[in-house]
Symmetry: C2
């Protein structure tokens, strides 16, 4: 427990997470922060940082004066929308076997909306990647990613685009995805989407996630739209009192 680089805090966090899911703590009570600090030979602040993150993720509840406790409800939540998680993992955590189908990769000129969102000249060429994610062979997510061609530093093959976008970016573009702003939009599946997602021909409501992704320098580098079949995947999040 003395290596660097995963940070100490991160090591403590995964250590505790492991013990939590293994139900190692009697009656859901986690040892006091001071006890953990001396047990793991780190300062109490480091323990507190780790516990704060576990609390944010819903694994733990803290009560001043009483103690820190395992959050049974948090353990049941499969997937949270407030983190960028590869869709394969999201699908697997819902109990399905994930698969990806790369439908098409094409070059298009940016329309004015896209150009404005990504700080481009109108008409600048953009790579559009169409992907379909399957859960146990049923289509569940259709994803459309717009990536300005100017970011591509290397020639690419279709296989490159099977990976999650945040793995593609460092390799092909020497860019990194730091965060994204996402809009959540409900829609009635139009015919072309019913087709892509193999929906029954009755009108169906879908969730769309429209995201602009930024690099650590705070420049917009991509736009992504994802359409979810919510009968197979449920999007969840934890909301907290603001102040």
């Amino acid at each position: 427990m003395l290596k660097r680089s995963p940070s100490l805090t991160e090591q403590v966090k995964s250590h505790l997470k492991q013990r939590i899911v293994a139900s190692e703590f009697e009656a859901g009570r986690i040892p006091s922060e001071s006890d953990l600090a001396s047990e793991l030979n780190v300062s109490r602040n480091t323990i507190r940082d780790a516990l704060s993150r576990l609390e944010m993720e819903g694994f733990v509840v803290r009560r001043q004066g009483a103690g820190t406790f395992v959050n049974q409800h948090g353990l049941l939540v499969k997937t949270r929308l407030d983190e960028i998680v590869p869709y394969e993992i999201l699908i697997r955590e819902h109990g399905y076997e994930p698969a990806i189908k790369l439908l098409c990769v094409e070059e298009q000129p940016a329309d004015s909306g896209l150009a404005a969102a990504l700080n481009l000249q109108a008409g600048e060429p953009v790579l559009v990647i169409h992907k379909l994610f399957l859960a146990d062979a049923s289509p569940v997510i259709f994803n459309q990613t717009h990536l300005p061609l100017k970011w591509l530093k290397r020639p690419h093959t279709p296989d490159d685009f099977l990976a999650p976008i945040y793995q593609i970016l460092p390799k092909l573009c020497q860019q990194e995805l730091a965060y994204s702003f996402s809009e959540i939009v409900p829609l009635i599946a139009p015919p072309w989407l019913m087709d892509r997602l193999a929906l029954p021909s009755t009108p169906t409501a879908l969730l769309a996630l429209e995201e602009i992704g930024y690099n650590p320098d705070n420049d917009p580098i991509l736009k992504a739209c994802s359409y979810f079949r919510d009968d197979l995947l449920r999007l969840r999040l934890i909301r907290r009192q603001s102040q």
Copy 2:
């Protein structure tokens, strides 16, 4: 800058937020953490805590070795889904004048699903509160809150239920809302909802937020379903790299 109770961190945070929205920082650059620490007479850790929260909320971007900067994109985002915010404020931040209409408050026995979600006996009485939120007089959110009758410690009048639920709970139930787990569900408005939300008679997609609210002791205390007209309100959130 020496009072307690809003915490020092919280005071520093709102102080900085104020200066950010007033565009006080040249070229979006925020002074270094050490400078802020001596300027505000607090330790660097306190400054860092405040900046971390501002970063979480999207107001600020930090880059190791370079500095801390105002996030222009973050300032444009009106409302974030990952915090519990009163719907009135959400509506106002979208540029409308909010209003609330209390439609009805009735007592019902809990069905089995509700009983399981809230740890109740099947059939236990539950108060169901129906509220409609208006933006410039147009209905935008229909909210249905299920509150077990056993929590009510005092007699209530309809007026009590005009306030946000997290203000009602302390007064009427001596309870506090700590956090909630929310499912995001798209749906096609059924006739009764089209009626409530004054939707046109063409099929319309809506967002539903289905929440279970917990108190600090981690007991479920209420269930709430809210239906949003997304043509007037857009729900947004910031997603970050998990690790």
